[in-house]
Symmetry: C2
Subunit: 437 residues, 2 copies
């Protein structure tokens, strides 16, 4: 058999890029054996911002370049891996690669969530695939599963814990009773959260992934502006305690669900998940996605969502896919949206039960006032509770919790706006969804 | 775009075959959209044993034939799906299809576990793939995951619950305290167990799947004779109760693990699994496989292991894969063993801790006698217990339980043989592994 060498241009040599180089050195021979004995994946060029920086021993500094165009245009480079992040230079690199007919592998969820439609159009035009398994839940092959393994299924729903940092923070708040800020600081100290953790805790990292999953499942481009996103900054230990008492755990949950009228529910928020659901057992920095297909029924995929080696593993799977396809003449087996548009359900129309926490001034009549507004909007109450602060039982300002029956989110917001205007209510109420999974 | 029609020969029209026909009718248009708008998958012929039998409305009786060769040889048939089961006629159908260059999709784990090496040799010779996602844990894309998604990983271990019938029986024994035979009868009444449940309860259904997983992960053919298999027939409610007290659940577990010397541990038996491990939460007829790769780390895949629609979903994923490959000229992207042989670790060399139940005649000195033999073999005891039968506290024959420290299985068996020969021991001891996952 003849050997086929696939030259790779690696744009970005941070944690994941270095992981790719290391994995190819460690397991290159095994990959060759598994794929028929002839495939050699060889990094030819590496794009970096600073060619003088000290790098991992495995990185051949002779391959480094700071000129992205020379990397993409190099005739020895047949496949381009984009791992530099951001949405500007990354866009240029991916776009030019596709234009040259060079398959692209990327882990850049922000790029795809924000500029996916442009890139998929180029991918189609130039019959050249973009692979992006590394962009969603690194160690979990959820892209391949939705796109290939479940290709025969109408997707009824996908629900997932797809941000490990926030999941770790929520778990530590739950098991150690920590405040959000303390748990975040701990996550940063352990390297589970970035110095700037905003995208993790405000939900947008997970939201970008949810947008990609929804596009994969339903085949049309979705803009970030169509998605309702709530982060975990407002979660308090008392919310988590209350959830526990009711048999729930609090998870930052992406919910994607097709309704009978064809509208797609798409949202991300802290949710109460029943303790008996397998998603409730997903702890620490792990990710999980529960998929419900009309054929397969319920399935769940669990693994590490980030980190050098798990993400590199996803990049390499895509690399092998791209190389196998190139080997026999280009065919497009990557993802392409198959319809121009679909309907995202307005967030106001989505219905769940709710847990709502009010910051109130403690005086007789508070519950009656809140309950009256809810009643006027025909929103049912299944319980109310005001946790006593043992350190200050006569505190003037207290948290008051209401559990509400299922109703449209729009209706709830109308009621909450009125309630927020009451004299006894000191700030806008905090809402958690109680999910029916 | 031109339309590509892929004619399918469907050999077998039982539960899963009918499910494939139904799924193609239900979701054929969606599959076409998802795969670029041109792929039509059309069943051209259906092989049945009895062409007069009443069938699902969706089955076009004009396509039925009882002549397998005319189905395989039909020039309109480009892809063959084998779902008739057994290892003789099924072998002939698969072998002839491969010889004619027609890709094969099968869900026949017994065929592949017993005659895989012959079929993979034909697959290689004729450059024509065999796809078999439906053969292992139907609703879980574990074949695709091991072969493609984790292609860049050295597989450290795969542990799985891959027989739903036995998992259901064990769960019912656990939650309702049922005897094995009662739980089995219940499973049969609910349609979860066949009239002849022997392959489910004696472990061989799961063992065939484990052999396929090990072959996929390590690349060499493995014969069923190389595998140690223990079923669940000997599990008693008292074992399950005892496991609970110790913080474990009893699961019929397939364990596949590579050791540092390259030997592959491969076994299937009722095992004690820690309650805190996510595999312990896998209940009812669900399956799950935990995979440990050197890159991805720990991952877990959970879903329905059998049933009409989940298994049909797996067949259709393979069908799309086969059609996509055929569309651009044959390339072999299916699995092929990549080495002729590897080393399966003799079961005697495998080490775990153990739970051993002895059926003894109750008289003073019994524990001392058993403990003496264990000590002579240098096997450590971490605990002993003899559950009192509340209905007959002075029973002459009782169950006596020993918990043993980790030691090689061969050493344990030597000791147990001696113990079984003691006058106070009435039958051969029953052994469960205590797993370190």
């Amino acid at each position: 058999m003849t050997s086929s060498v696939f030259g790779i241009g690696l744009a970005g040599c941070g944690t994941v890029g270095t992981g790719v180089i290391r994995a190819l050195k460690r397991n290159g021979e095994l990959i060759r054996e598994r794929t028929g004995g002839t495939m050699t994946l060889e990094v030819m060029r590496v794009l970096v911002r600073d060619s003088q920086k000290t790098r991992d021993d495995m990185v051949d500094i002779g391959l480094l370049t700071t000129d992205w165009q020379s990397l993409v245009d190099d005739s020895a480079v047949k496949i381009v891996i984009e791992l530099i992040g951001g949405t500007d230079l990354a866009f240029d690199i991916v776009a030019r690669s596709l234009t040259l007919g060079k398959p692209v592998i990327t882990g850049n969820k922000a790029l795809l969530a924000e500029r996916g439609p442009e890139l998929f159009a180029l991918s189609k035009l130039h019959n050249t695939p973009i692979h992006f398994e590394a962009a969603v839940a690194g160690g979990i092959p959820i892209i391949k599963t939705v796109q290939e393994a479940f290709v025969g299924n109408r997707m009824l729903a996908l629900c997932g814990i797809i941000n490990g940092t926030s999941n770790y923070i929520l778990q530590r708040m739950s098991e150690a009773g920590l405040e959000f800020s303390t748990a975040l600081a701990e996550a940063q100290a352990l390297g589970y959260a970035e110095a700037d953790p905003s995208l993790d805790v405000n939900g947008w990292d997970a939201a970008h992934k949810a947008i990609l999953l929804a596009t994969l499942a339903y085949g049309f481009p979705i803009s970030p502006s169509q998605m309702n996103v709530v982060g975990i900054e407002q979660v308090k230990p008392l919310d988590i305690d209350f959830a526990k008492q009711l048999g729930y755990v609090v998870k930052l949950l992406a919910v994607i669900r097709e309704h009978d009228n064809g509208a797609i529910e798409l949202r991300l928020q802290p949710s109460f998940v029943s303790k008996s659901h397998i998603l409730a057992s997903v702890n620490g920095v792990f990710n999980a996605v529960a998929v419900h297909g009309d054929g397969v029924g319920e399935a769940l995929f669990y693994g590490r969502g980030a980190g050098q080696d798990p993400t590199a593993s996803a990049v390499i799977a895509d690399l092998v896919e791209a190389a196998r396809t190139l080997a026999k003449g280009q065919t497009h087996r990557g993802f392409l949206p198959w319809r121009e548009n679909g309907r995202i359900m307005p967030i106001e129309e989505t219905s769940t039960a709710y847990y709502v926490r009010f910051d109130v001034t403690d005086r007789p009549g508070v519950i009656a006032e809140i309950a009256r507004v809810l009643a006027e909007h025909r929103i049912g109450i299944s319980g109310t509770h005001s946790p006593v602060n043992p350190e200050n039982p006569d505190a003037a300002f207290v948290d008051m919790v209401f559990l509400l029956h299922s109703c449209p989110y729009g209706l709830l917001q109308k009621a909450l706006k009125e309630i927020a205007a009451l004299a006894c209510v000191n700030s806008y109420p905090v809402v958690f969804r109680i999910e029916q999974l």
